[in-house]
């Protein structure tokens, strides 16, 4: 059976996240959620950090979630899931579970809730070695509060807290390399994926869910509002992100790097940048230098990654 059919079968007519939620038209997040949950072949319990996904799917007294779902706050999803997972183990030990069988514990958090305010809780949970899969849907900014810069926001991007203007060229720093930070925790499974590449994503989820310990997945996810594009351009933009090697797809299993996708031809990073309004200012005035700097940085990072994958 094709992988997609398997997902359909797993979903069995009840999408983990049903329609009728309040996420934007064309938001990239739901596809990530469904691909992940539908790939996992055990029951799933979801812990969400505050963010677009959480706010827009659970307006009391409604819910768009058909799987158990828990939200406590913005910064603590990994700590919350630690408690849930340990409770599961404790109850399993003394026979107190509502029903038997394995459960996959899944965290869904935005980049803000992962790279920034949620990093410490995540790092602690990774060190303690809980069995859970932490997925960052990385749309590269705090979208829920209106597109502010996060640690994931790329260099040069215009956001409401790193606005471009005569005295500023957008975000002044390079993005945090969250995937590398997760790798540095020496956990069994880490990967970087993109919502444009569903099959790659789904395969990674499968491996992550079977890892013997914590797993981390960083999924580039488009946001039409924050990136400034029409929903219909989502896939081509994401593709350009991947094919320019701005966002390489790779995984690190027990410390070993592997590219899961190699662009046939590497496209200039401009193809990734140009369709997005948040980079529009780079295509005028002094932007050219910034563009060169971005290309150079992407090239360097790619080279370093490729080297690590070869070895």
């Amino acid at each position: 059976m094709s992988r997609l059919k398997t997902l359909v079968r797993n979903e069995a007519g009840t999408p983990p996240l049903r329609g009728g939620h309040a996420l934007c038209q064309g938001c990239g997040i739901p596809m990530v959620v469904r691909t992940i949950v539908d790939t996992i072949d055990t029951p799933v319990v979801v812990v969400s950090a505050t963010g677009c996904l959480e706010v827009a799917t659970t307006r009391f007294p409604t819910t768009a979630w058909n799987v158990p779902w828990l939200h406590v706050a913005f910064e603590n999803a990994a700590a919350v899931v630690s408690g849930v997972e340990v409770a599961y183990r404790a109850l399993a030990k003394r026979g107190g579970l509502p029903q038997d069988g394995p459960i996959t514990f899944l965290v869904l958090a935005g980049d803000g809730g992962t790279y920034d305010i949620g990093l410490q809780a995540l790092s602690g949970a990774l060190e303690r070695g809980h069995h859970f899969l932490f997925v960052c849907y990385d749309n590269e900014a705090y979208m829920n509060t209106g597109v502010q810069r996060s640690g994931a926001t790329p260099f040069g991007a215009n956001t409401t807290t790193s606005p471009a203007g005569v005295a500023a060229l957008g975000k002044a720093q390079q993005r945090k390399d969250m995937t590398a930070i997760a790798v540095a925790h020496h956990i069994p499974y880490v990967a970087q994926a993109a919502s444009s590449h569903w099959q790659d994503l789904s395969e990674k989820v499968e491996r992550a869910a079977h890892a013997d310990g914590p797993a981390f997945l960083n999924v580039l996810t488009n946001c039409p509002v924050g990136w400034g594009h029409e929903p219909r351009h989502a896939i081509e933009i994401l593709n350009a992100g991947v094919d320019s090697c701005y966002w390489p797809l790779y995984e690190v299993v027990d410390g070993r790097y592997r590219l899961t996708y190699t662009p046939e031809t590497i496209v200039p990073v401009e193809e990734w940048l140009r369709p997005q309004k948040r980079f529009a200012h780079l295509f005028t005035g002094e932007g050219a230098a910034v563009l060169r700097e971005i290309q150079r940085h992407v090239d360097d990072e790619w080279e370093a990654l490729a080297a690590r994958c070869e070895s």
Binding site: A22, L23, C24, Q25, C27, C52, A56, R59, P224, V225
Partner: protein, 172 residues
């Protein structure tokens, strides 16, 4: 006191319209307030904004429950939300449409084909603000000036003025 409620989808300029109209009236010496409603719903969702106008200083900060005028920027909303909710007894519905739908029968509905008038300019909101000025017997210039003050940094002034005036002309 006049209380106005604006209905639109997020991104259609209801908030701007609410503030723009307030600015116009401020310049005419009145006291004003303009505020949108906020929820978890995102781009594309129905949205409300409000404008309050008075001759005395406005000090109250409660919500507007019984608007004197309801301005509907997006006619498709009629299927979704009750735009007449709480409308004051002799309140007016100002609608972006050619004709009033049956569902609003019995109400004082003023129609302006704002989308058609605005054409590609996307100034549906400006056309309706112009029309509102006509409905409330305000000078159109004040509204056009306010619109230019708020939006003139990005858009050609005459386009703005034209949109406002066309709306005004519809109902004056």
């Amino acid at each position: 006191m006049k209380e106005i409620r604006w209905h639109a989808r997020a991104g259609q300029g209801a908030k701007t319209a609410s503030q723009l109209y307030a600015t116009a009236r401020l310049h005419e010496g009145q006291s004003v307030q303009a505020f949108p409603e906020y929820g978890p719903e995102r781009r594309g969702a129905p949205l409300r904004a409000y404008t309050r106008i008075d001759d005395k200083p406005i000090r109250r900060h409660d919500a507007i429950m019984h608007p004197d005028v309801v301005v509907v920027l997006e006619p498709s909303l009629l299927h979704e939300v009750d735009v007449t909710e709480g409308l004051a007894p002799d309140g007016i519905v100002l609608l972006n449409a050619d004709t009033a739908p049956a569902s609003l029968a019995g109400l004082d509905v003023r129609c302006v084909p704002a989308a058609r008038i605005a054409g590609d300019s996307k100034f549906v909101n400006l056309v309706l603000v112009g029309a509102l000025a006509a409905v409330l017997h305000d000078p159109v210039d004040a509204v056009a000036d306010a619109a230019i003050e708020l939006l003139g940094g990005k858009v050609a002034h005459d386009e703005i003025r034209t949109a406002v005036e066309k709306g005004y002309a519809c109902l004056s």
